[in-house]
Symmetry: C2
């Protein structure tokens, strides 16, 4: 099980077995079933999660009951309410399990402690955050400047693995289009 | 001039004068006039900028010539094409000066070197990246779930200082509405 974590971290930094042993003690394993909520709205969230297997989504329900999906997370993705996790705010998104999942979790206190005792891990998390930032900028530019059809094609191209596993209504809620529009785009 | 940089970094980490002296050698000062471009599209961008004074924007021009503004940056904001800076891709946004600006610049190589020689700075940049990530997630949720009127009100509330300094057509290009819609929202 820890093989996965070592490989995931090893994509950006080199850790020998002794260092990894230290790192692994900061993480816990979590198993969670389909349709369970990992995070609900209006909570204080002190944990973020790395997906080993399974699929989750974070989303916001607006005042008229419409769901807006901020993120899907499958293998090797991190998920949480990051505004709550990093800034201590109340959560605004809910995180729900779409496929039974095995996760690694780390609390904000353990994250900060880990970065202190092992500067390499601070580097790892900085790189992950930078790459996440870049991905979100692209999503914003896409939301602003691309048509629904272009966003649909991008999604299929970038996330074929998620596309094939997720109900179409959820893809519509991610792209910000109605289910009917999505059907039209698929033709 | 370095007082500003020391204060900016001091918001997240403690640096003594000797440490700050080391840090400051990794930065350069840049002055640039209104209407100049700091970054153009389709370049390799190896520098990011911290705004000491002035105001800039990063934006994308789509195929029909419409501008979409990704970011405004005034005092204490960082700006670049971050996909190019962090991931070595070709730039997709242009960065233009709206008000004469004084900036601090750092190259990607110097950033990585600085983080190596001073782990505290790796912490500083991780925190900045995390906070930036959270801000972008909020912008995505806002683009997806809020009306133009709500986005306009949020912008006035969150960035009163930018609102008062920027031509209204640029605010429309940031909010993703037409100039006519913006006029209606202001009534």
């Amino acid at each position: 099980m820890t093989d996965f974590l070592q490989r995931h971290i090893g994509e950006h930094i080199d850790l020998n077995d002794e260092e990894f042993h230290t790192v692994s003690k900061f993480f816990n394993s979590v198993k969670i079933r389909k349709r369970q909520f990992l995070i609900q709205e209006n909570q204080s969230v002190d944990t973020m999660y790395l997906v080993k297997t399974g699929l989750l989504k974070s989303s916001l329900i607006d005042e008229i009951g419409k769901e807006h999906i901020l993120q899907f997370a499958n293998e090797n993705w991190w998920i949480s309410d990051f505004a709550s996790f990093f800034k201590g705010e109340k959560s605004t998104v809910a995180v729900e399990v779409i496929e039974d999942a095995e996760l690694f979790s780390i609390t904000i206190n353990d994250l900060e402690q880990l970065c202190k005792v092992m500067p390499k891990m601070e580097h790892f998390f900085r790189v992950k955050s930078n790459f996440g930032y870049v991905a979100l900028q692209k999503r914003i530019l896409s939301l602003m400047s691309h048509t629904a059809k272009e966003r649909y094609d991008e999604f299929c191209l970038m996330y074929p693995n998620i596309f094939s596993r997720v109900p179409k209504r959820l893809i519509a809620n991610y792209l910000g289009v109605t289910r009917e529009t999505l059907s039209r785009l698929q033709m």
